[in-house]
């Protein structure tokens, strides 16, 4: 195992110092284990990792080309209807569920296996390296990217000590943390060498980055399993309790614990919106709510778009808003048969809101009434060839009006199929018409009461209220996801910007011309491109050669 070197780190940095690799193992008819080992080695090789990375990049693209079920199920249905032959084919290969498809999952899981297979041995190598000593000074310095030399009057041993202390000198900001790990060595014949290494942090950062990615994947998966999410529409003045049944839609992970639903209650007191008068663009949405945590006092809170409310370990997001007219429908005898605050869903920028009121008549199923139409927050009258019509011109309720058509017949409520409360099933209904044969249009303002046609009764528009669409989410893994993401970020930055350098110096007693002095040579090596290597070598060399040149020279000049 000591011979193991993942492809990625066998760059120039490790070559000269570590010496030649051991003899390559002779392959003798590799059996099934041999093949397994071969496959594993392939998978953990950098080449395959590269391939998988590029595959992942390519595989992610179809998710933007075709609609995805997870995000826009309705668009998938539209696509399938529009492409009856191609659609099902694409569906079969997972084009509408790209990010949960077998092939996409296979790519990223293989990538992570490859990553772990590469990182674990590297971690082992690195841990040994961190505990070990800096590699000895190589015999020849000629082939290193940074070099330097000089002469000194001090003895090799003194110089080795000086160099050691120069290299051990701490950081400018952290003077007690040595930059280099240093070892001085007596090479015999009066020759001394010093080896220094710094930047273990670089590889540490690299490993932390990759391991954090694994942690990130595990946290995301854990969150998927434990999360829950509920959505509902809450009308002004009403509230809801955090329980599975009170949501319009509820979605949960496979290991979701019902106890993670903290039974708080939330009531919508008021809703404010602000729009730009010229562009009609939204400027502010604020929901004023009353939150009652279990065992706590009711508290007034606000929910805004970028400011979700923390409640019971979950977050409540403001996802939408609209108007809900308060209506009362009476039959011919004056008895209230339907009504209440009915949310109308906004369809456009000026909040032209569509809604339905259903009057279920249990005695005569063919005499049921359906009212369908629009709420216009600020009415504007336009002239059409068929007479005046109304449109909305501003999203705020400055001059609201309800414009409704009336249908009579069977609402289809007894069909056993769950019905959308915002749609009218017109299959077994007929639209009521006036004497001229035109469809009846009811136009009602707040406070007004109008007669329904054919003596069906009356409709009263009591007033206009607001509703909000809330989205509640609980994901216990969020904090872990953030921690791992930040670890990955810190590791990445360290691995890219912390320099890893080796510096060697050799001090040889001079001969011939330099007899009595010491010849100093130095070399430096860095992993990757390192513009700071040569300057650093020069700095170390200069500091070693000239710690206190003054007195030495004076002494010599003083003795003729």
């Amino acid at each position: 195992m000591s011979q193991y070197r993942p492809e990625g780190i066998s760059d120039v940095f490790t070559e000269p110092a570590d010496g030649p690799e051991g003899p390559k193992p002779v392959v003798q008819g590799i059996g099934p284990t041999g093949w397994l080992r071969w496959a594993w080695r392939q998978l953990t090789s950098m080449r395959v990792a590269l391939l998988l990375l590029m595959l992942l990049a390519v595989a992610a693209v179809p998710g933007t080309v075709w609609p995805q079920r997870a995000q826009h199920p309705e668009r998938v249905v539209t696509y399938l209807t529009a492409h009856p032959t191609l659609g099902p084919l694409l569906d079969r290969i997972g084009a509408f569920n790209v990010y949960s498809s077998v092939w996409f999952s296979a790519i990223y899981l293989l990538l992570f296996v490859s990553l772990v297979g590469c990182i674990l041995p590297r971690t082992k190598v690195h841990l040994a390296g961190v505990r070990g000593r800096p590699p000895r000074a190589p015999r020849r310095f000629g082939r290193f990217p940074a070099q330097g030399d000089g002469l000194s009057d001090e003895t090799p041993e003194e110089l080795a000590q000086t160099a050691t202390s120069v290299l051990r000198r701490g950081w400018r900001l952290l003077p007690f943390v040595p930059t280099y790990r240093v070892e001085a060595r007596d090479e015999g014949d009066g020759t001394w060498s010093v080896a220094g290494e710094r930047g273990y942090l670089r590889e540490t950062g690299n490993l932390v980055f990759h391991l954090a990615l694994v942690g990130l994947l595990i946290s995301v998966a854990t969150g998927q399993v434990l999360h829950y999410r509920g959505q509902m529409i809450v009308v002004q003045g009403r509230g809801f309790a955090n329980s599975q049944g009170s949501y319009d839609t509820f979605e949960r992970g496979t290991a979701f614990a019902p106890t993670s639903l903290v039974p708080f209650t939330l009531k919508l007191d008021d809703f404010e919106s602000r729009f730009d008068p010229d562009t009609l663009a939204s400027r502010d949405f604020t929901a004023h709510v009353t939150l009652t945590e279990p065992g706590g006092e009711p508290e007034a809170k606000t929910i805004k778009v970028n400011h979700p409310l923390d409640a019971g370990g979950a977050k409540v997001y403001l996802q939408g808003n609209g108007y809900a007219p308060d209506l009362t429908i009476r039959d011919a005898s004056g008895k209230v048969v339907a009504g209440g605050v009915t949310p109308f869903l906004p369809q456009d920028q000026v909040y032209t809101s569509k809604g339905v009121v259903k009057v279920a008549n249990v005695e005569d199923r063919d005499k049921q009434i359906g009212l369908i139409g629009f709420l216009l927050p600020t009415k504007k009258t336009v002239q059409t060839p068929r007479g005046p019509a109304y449109v909305s011109q501003f999203p705020e309720p400055n001059d609201p009006v309800l414009v409704l058509n009336v249908w009579e017949g069977n609402l289809g409520l007894d069909a056993g199929v769950p019905q959308n409360v915002y749609e009218l099933d017109e299959a077994r209904m007929t639209q009521l018409e006036d004497a001229e044969g035109d469809p009846v249009v009811l136009v009602v303002k707040p406070g007004e009461t109008v007669e329904l046609p054919d003596g069906l009764g009356t409709l009263t528009f009591n007033g206009l209220k607001r509703f909000v669409a809330l989205d509640l989410r609980h994901d216990p893994a969020l904090v872990y996801i953030l921690v791992f993401a930040l670890m990955a970020f810190a590791g990445l930055a360290t691995s890219l910007f912390a320099p890893r350098r080796r510096v060697w110096m050799r001090f040889v007693p001079g001969r011939d011309d330099h007899a009595g002095r010491t010849v100093v040579t130095a070399a430096g090596l860095a992993r990757g491109d390192d513009v700071g290597l040569q300057p650093e070598l020069d700095r170390v060399l200069a500091a070693t050669l000239a710690p206190s040149p003054g007195p030495t020279r004076e002494d010599r000049e003083g003795t003729p």
């Binding site: 590269l50 998710g63 933007t64 790209v98 890219l496």
Partner: protein
């Protein structure tokens, strides 16, 4: 004239200054090409004897006469004036809108061009690399003109989903990364051309490679060596990649705040993720035997293409939660 109009005027001024700088850089490049063609003549003869075209030949002492001092002076000063005008335009835009000016495609383009031209000025503070300037300033002029003509929208406040300090951090960092990726892309293009020229022999069978070794590309003698350009491109890409990683993480945090989920495979998220993966592959390729050097830089081309697509196609053609172009 209000502040918004003044901003637009300054941006037009910046586009004009950059156009002048582009012409001056191009003149400098042409002069270098011309000069090194004259100098290069004997070297090509010796290369004809079967050797390689020497890369070291055209450096140091022949550099001085073959550069146009006047063109370089004009280029440098108009380049700086352009940066100053652009900066002024961006600041005024922020005042006109009453918020941080990175909320739509127009503003995104302005700030990205600002970063790219600023990084370019820093990269060549000592020595002008005319080809790199032509590529980057050329892209900058095109981007500014496209922004002014097609991406422009009136300076205004933003919708509630964008009212967050993450507009400064997430979008600001994404823009800076895009700007730096642009300069790195230019450097990689230059590196590929240069490294081909360093290797090519006169007998090379491939006509395109032979042309690269020929007189038309003799200006390549004046640019730093392929190895140096590779190192420069890597350093820029490394910085931009770290910023891009921050963009992803910050975006996830913001999405969790604003939309209620940290990741939802929105088209923009997919594009950012794909670019991130491609640049990650680039960083790995650099340390893989057989993929380092020129082959690794192909990842830079793919990555930069993804960054550009992610900005243009995803904003204009695909509809997603990041459709903030205002168009």
């Amino acid at each position: 004239m209000n502040t918004g109009d003044l901003s637009t005027l300054l941006i037009w001024g910046a586009a004009t200054a950059f156009t002048v700088a582009l012409i001056a850089y191009a003149v400098d490049l042409a002069r270098i090409a011309e000069g090194s063609q004259r100098v290069k003549q004997p070297a090509l003869v010796s290369a004809g004897a079967g050797g390689q075209v020497s890369a070291a030949a055209g450096s140091a002492d022949q550099r001085a006469p073959s550069r146009s001092v006047k063109a370089e002076g004009i280029a440098r000063s108009t380049h700086y004036v352009g940066i100053a005008l652009l900066f002024g335009g961006i600041v005024l835009r922020g005042f006109a809108a009453g918020r941080w000016p990175t909320a739509n495609m127009y503003e995104f383009t302005l700030v990205a061009v600002f970063w790219a031209t600023l990084i370019l000025a820093i990269v060549q503070r000592r020595r002008i690399i005319a080809f790199l300037s032509v590529v980057v300033i050329g892209l900058a002029v095109v981007a500014l003109v496209v922004a002014l003509n097609w991406f422009y929208i009136k300076a205004d406040a933003v919708q509630p989903a964008l009212q967050s300090y993450w507009l400064v951090l997430h979008v600001g960092v994404a823009i800076a990364a895009t700007g730096i990726f642009t300069v790195a892309f230019g450097t990689s293009v230059l590196q590929v051309l240069k490294s081909y020229r360093e290797e090519v022999t006169v007998e090379d069978g491939n006509a395109a490679r032979r042309a690269l070794g020929g007189r038309r590309f003799s200006w390549l003698e004046q640019v730093p060596s392929g190895r140096d350009l590779e190192a420069m491109s890597f350093r820029l890409n490394a910085v931009a990649f770290v910023l891009w990683t921050f963009t992803l993480i910050g975006g996830a945090v913001w999405a969790e705040h604003a939309w209620g989920r940290y990741w939802g495979w929105d088209p923009k998220e997919v594009g950012t993720f794909v670019a991130w993966v491609v640049y990650a592959a680039y960083l790995h390729a650099r340390t893989t035997r057989g993929w380092s050097g020129r082959r690794a830089s192909y990842f830079v081309f793919v990555g930069y293409a993804v960054v550009l697509m992610n900005f243009t196609v995803v904003n204009l053609v695909v509809t997603g939660k990041h459709s903030y172009s205002g168009l």
